[in-house]
Symmetry: C2
Amino acid sequence: MKTAFILAAALMALPAIARDSSPPPPSPGELVAGAAADEWVTILPDDLLVMDLAPDARGPRRVFIQLIAPPYSQPWTANVRTLAKAGWWDGLAIVRSQDNYVVQWGDPDAEDAGKAKALPKGMHATTEQGYVRQLDAVAMLIDPCGDRSHVPATWLCDAYAPGATFRSGWPIATDGVREWPVHCYGTVGVGRGMSPDAGTGAELYAVIGHAPRHLDRNIAVVGRVIEGMEHLSTLPRGTEALGFYATPAERTPIVSMRLASELPAADRPRFEYLSTEVITFARYADARANRRDPFFIAPAGGADVCNIPVPVRRAP
Amino acid sequence: MKTAFILAAALMALPAIARDSSPPPPSPGELVAGAAADEWVTILPDDLLVMDLAPDARGPRRVFIQLIAPPYSQPWTANVRTLAKAGWWDGLAIVRSQDNYVVQWGDPDAEDAGKAKALPKGMHATTEQGYVRQLDAVAMLIDPCGDRSHVPATWLCDAYAPGATFRSGWPIATDGVREWPVHCYGTVGVGRGMSPDAGTGAELYAVIGHAPRHLDRNIAVVGRVIEGMEHLSTLPRGTEALGFYATPAERTPIVSMRLASELPAADRPRFEYLSTEVITFARYADARANRRDPFFIAPAGGADVCNIPVPVRRAP
């Protein structure tokens, strides 16, 4: 993509009039709309969570969460499936809403050994090491703005790692030796206590603000909200420390949280994402990084990995 | 700050036990709390907007917006002051709320020449050129991940420019020849039509999601929300294209929008921001980029300019 950035930089030097002398280039949305059917990947029912919050004055509140693909965070995604199949979250609540940070849900009594809800059988143990996919035995120190000559030119510039790219439909950061999923808007991660507690997956949060990339490699990413995000992002903010709600009445009840695979076949939502390994995604990412549609005057010449959201749609 | 990043990367190699062998390093918040009184800068009443939205079930909704410092966007900030002094926004409304993008307010009839509200006298003309502060006559092409040897090592790595830093309390991106304010969470900018329309300042928006940095150098940044952001970020999302509300009833009325300098002295809110030119800010920025407080396992070794919010507080 680097080459494209340089071309875009050259475009910036064109006078405004030149922008009118040819049909406008396609916008990112137009490129996605033109993707071939076989460039879309079905999201499997076992990779899709359906969370129903108690309805509000505006109606039902259903949130869809896609679980992250292997090899990332597998002990946690396995636990999340186990918890969903057990109906563990049913009757629990959203306990925290912190502006420009996260909304968090789980057991309000999780900290009270006497009242905490028991976890189902078959949960996997989790460790810090699970956060990062080790590509080989040697760890490279991270210096985001250092020499990038050892990383592929197609990686995106990143302020938190030598490079960022996409794998199997997910944004990742990498130093060429390790790679790890990143925290973007809508990312779902695993709440935990102080290290070495790595969290079980029972306490989850969704990012509702600017990408908190400092959480990368510190917390397990298990998925992302793909529809219904507004039901989380517009929740009233909590007034206690970290945005926890001051009273139980302020919490939003979770009616149920299930895997799509547990729903009757006729009721299963069907989503697909644009493969990140196809040419249309590369064109889309380039268009996000170099906006040339008519509204724009100066293409940026780059974009951060969280500003290139992987397109997701309802299956036609 | 580059050196600090490298040191932080070295810290990452320490075994977990080493983190417990000495008192924990201060968190970003602890560093800010320890700032000296003379490291804080008063926000002047002419640089502070007070926007009162119609109260909702939870009570009053007051939003405070700091206008950006010279030399950035001065024709627009001058217009915003003129509009506030004329009470131009009073009785108008928030017309748009698009998830992970912006909330926008102004005249719902702005597009209808017959009904559009007349602007006050004394408005400045605005042009695209005003978006960018030209540091000298020659423009450098932007290649964010290219050779950074020509930019100061203290600049932050940035995916949208050769570097990013802070000036007079504001995050900016720069290529060493030009510099421009950036779009972060809470940034307030000027709505406009297609270029060469640069907007007057009468239609404003606030960013409620991940930093839309592709708007940098395309739209004039006039300020940032410094308190009351939750009153904008939690507004119901609009269901029409771009998050516009489908019906007038869905819009949130603006009761009044004034400069603090127009309020009776006793009623004036008093805020201050941490100077970005003092050592405490540098230590705070480094701590944001290299989280070493006990919760964290792996300091990132970097941060993007929007993940280092300039601290703002009520004046003691």
